[in-house]
């Protein structure tokens, strides 16, 4: 990514993407462009391919791209390793954050933050400096310092896991954050904390993709675009009112849509 980017160039371009796992096609031609400062929401039923799309953008090894391209800051990233994508500024917030017994949360956060900082030619942080940084970011998600000494996500409640995801996002300062059902399993208070965390981190240079079933996260963070996915394709795109309409009419309403070209 040596080429100098213009501020207004798209951050992420997904171009007619087909992908499969175990020879089973999951994505059947998805196109999506995210420009700086934009918030996109992707909605759809379970199994429509929206989580898969997020994993493929992050580089999950179980899926393979059969055709199409993913461009990040204008560069094709189809063959990049997951860590290279993360270091260059792609962040995936997991629907089900993974528990990693025995690996300390603090150590995990420090190693990943430094990996990103190294990429950005920023100075890597030692334990003390890092603790300072974390302390500040913990405030954002109203997490207790004690979380740091526990194993990654192990024994965390659903809400704690999601807040830990947002904490990671805050530390990594991504250019694009794809948040996969970050709202699921959260009570109203936790949802507010998560939403305000997301808002504070995003700015005019970053892009956000919110993957969700429900309107309630979108009440907190208003998207510029809403996409509806079904059977591995985006079948309709609209503004934030599309989500409201969907909430009212349910997904049956979308069953009649033909793919918009």
């Amino acid at each position: 990514m040596q080429r100098k980017m213009k501020e207004s160039d798209p951050i992420l371009e997904v171009q007619n993407l087909f992908a499969s796992t175990d020879n089973l096609p999951i994505l059947k031609g998805v196109s999506l462009t995210v420009n700086p400062g934009e918030i996109h929401a992707i909605m759809g039923r379970n199994g429509c391919g929206k989580s898969t799309l997020s994993k493929i953008i992050a580089g999950h090894p179980s899926y393979s791209i059969t055709s199409g391209d993913i461009k990040f800051s204008g560069e094709n990233i189809n063959s990049l390793e997951p860590e290279e994508r993360a270091q260059s500024g792609i962040f995936l917030g997991f629907q089900y954050p993974i528990e990693i017994p025995g690996v300390s949360n603090l150590e995990f956060l420090r190693v990943s933050t430094n990996a990103r900082r190294k990429f950005l030619n920023k100075e890597e942080l030692d334990t003390f400096d890092f603790e300072e940084l974390v302390k500040e970011k913990l405030e954002l998600v109203k997490m207790d310092h004690a979380f740091l000494s526990r194993s990654v996500n192990q024994g965390f409640s659903g809400g704690e896991k999601k807040r830990n995801e947002i904490l990671q996002m805050a530390l990594l300062e991504p250019k694009i954050a794809i948040l996969d059902e970050t709202d699921s399993g959260l009570d109203i208070d936790a949802l507010r904390i998560v939403a305000s965390g997301i808002k504070k981190i995003s700015n005019a240079q970053t892009g956000i993709i919110l993957i969700t079933h429900y309107q309630r996260l979108l009440d907190e963070i208003e998207p510029n675009y809403v996409h509806v996915m079904a059977d591995g394709q985006i079948i309709k795109t609209g503004g934030s009112d599309l989500a409201l309409e969907l909430e009212k009419k349910g997904y049956e309403w979308t069953d009649n849509f033909v793919k918009e070209t």
């Binding site: 580089g59 997951p82 860590e83 993360a86 270091q87 997991f94 990693i100 690996v103 190693v111 990996a115």
Partner: protein, 405 residues
């Protein structure tokens, strides 16, 4: 196998000690273990024969203990070098067993040895010369941690023997370090005797350089109300066998074992444990971890024996294995033999690779695959390493494991 020939023809030593004589006698007609028996079936034959392809080392060159600079109060002994030990502290004493007592004890042990099961001990005692047998009697309290070193120098086979009596109400922390130089074999047999109400927190760390071989045998007798904790780690050895036999002579004792073996290249390391409950209310918690990479082979065999007399035994054994390459092999064979009816016994075994979802999660946070694997491995190691006494400060084992090849 030069040594075996010498045993067969009784040309091993000119001046044999009584113990050597008894052992050589026992081995003479049948000097090798039965390769078909369960204990030896998986043992790599050519590596085993390499182990025996050295001549006996009778004169040890001076050995320099690694990782010396330390201010802690630690008692450090090297088998074969330290003689006439008599250490006395305010509340304790560590003294050498008299030759009579030591010989009597060993002779009595030998009389119950089965040629196949105790082959490693018989070989050890056939080869161990008098100065390489260290016998200690420990009593008292507030005893500083003890470290005992055994070491094999290049181009030779070295045999060392350790006997420790821990007297009533006495607690010790004991770290045994077995080091093999390049091209060497070490035979280390240890006999621990825990009297009533005593406890040992025991660590065994063994590693070597290129082409090193180890026969490590550990025999523990636990009397009533004693507690035996063992953390062990074997790595970087071309061929190693770690045999552990624990007998709770009258039950009512606690045994806690956490062991790990790491194999790379074409190494073979095996652990064989036998826990014998010879009385009621015994407790065992055991975990063995193996990690096999490249073309290596890791073996775990663990038997638990609960006879009728051992009612209310509570024993659990876990075998956790990581297979990192598709040319490596892992064999695990738990074995439970239970006659008492009022017991709680469970065991489990798993063989798998590093967890892919965990790895992916870390990679999406920018941590490289190598780094993520290391993090996962270190958490896998940590459980065992944190159970090895006095290791934390000076023995940065984790670093050694993760960064050395």
């Amino acid at each position: 196998m030069e040594i075996i020939e010498q045993i067969k023809t009784n040309k091993l030593f000119e001046n044999q000690t009584e113990i050597q004589k008894i052992c050589i006698d026992k081995l003479q007609s049948n000097p090798l273990p039965n390769p078909k028996s369960e204990l030896w079936r998986l043992s790599n034959k050519s590596k085993f024969s390499n182990l025996l392809d050295y001549s006996i080392n009778e004169k040890d060159p001076k050995f320099d203990i690694p990782f010396l600079n330390n201010t802690q109060n630690i008692i450090r002994l090297v088998i074969g070098e330290d003689n006439k030990i008599f250490l006395k502290g305010e509340n304790y004493s560590i003294r050498q067993l008299s030759k009579n007592i030591l010989d009597e004890y060993i002779k009595q042990k030998i009389s119950s040895f089965d040629q196949n099961e105790h082959w490693s001990d018989l070989l050890n005692l056939s080869l161990s010369c008098e100065k390489n047998i260290l016998g200690l009697k420990i009593n008292g309290s507030k005893i500083p941690p003890i470290e005992i070193f055994s070491h094999a120098s290049s181009n030779s086979l070295t045999a060392k023997t350790l006997v420790i009596f821990v007297e009533k109400n006495c607690d010790i922390e004991l770290l045994q370090v077995n080091l093999c130089e390049e091209n060497s074999s070490l035979s280390q047999s240890t006999f621990l005797c825990l009297e009533e109400n005593s406890s040992i927190f025991h660590g065994v760390v063994s590693y070597g350089e290129n082409k090193s071989h180890l026969l490590n045998s550990l025999n523990v007798i636990q009397q009533k109300n004693s507690e035996y904790k063992l953390g062990s780690l074997h790595f970087k050895l071309d061929y190693a066998r770690f045999e552990i036999r624990v007998k709770q002579s009258a039950g009512n004792a606690k045994t806690n074992i956490k062991g790990m073996q790491i194999t790379k290249n074409d190494e073979q390391i095996s652990t064989h444990t036998k826990i014998d409950f010879n009385g009621p209310n015994g407790f065992l918690d055991q975990i063995n971890k193996s990690l096999a990479d490249d073309k290596s082979h890791a073996i775990f065999e663990g038997s638990i024996i609960v006879p009728k007399i051992a009612q209310k035994t509570d024993a659990s054994q876990l075998s956790r294995n990581l297979l990192l390459s598709n040319r490596a092999q892992i064999d695990t064979k738990p074995q439970l033999e239970i006659i008492a009816d009022d017991v709680k016994c469970k065991h489990g075994a798993t063989i798998s690779q590093l967890n892919e979802e965990e790895l992916f999660y870390m990679r999406t946070r920018g941590i490289t695959l190598t780094e993520a694997s290391k993090l996962q491995l270190s958490s896998y190691f940590q459980e065992i390493i944190s159970f090895i006494p006095v290791s934390k400060d000076r023995w940065d084992l984790l670093d050694k494991l993760l960064h050395e090849n």
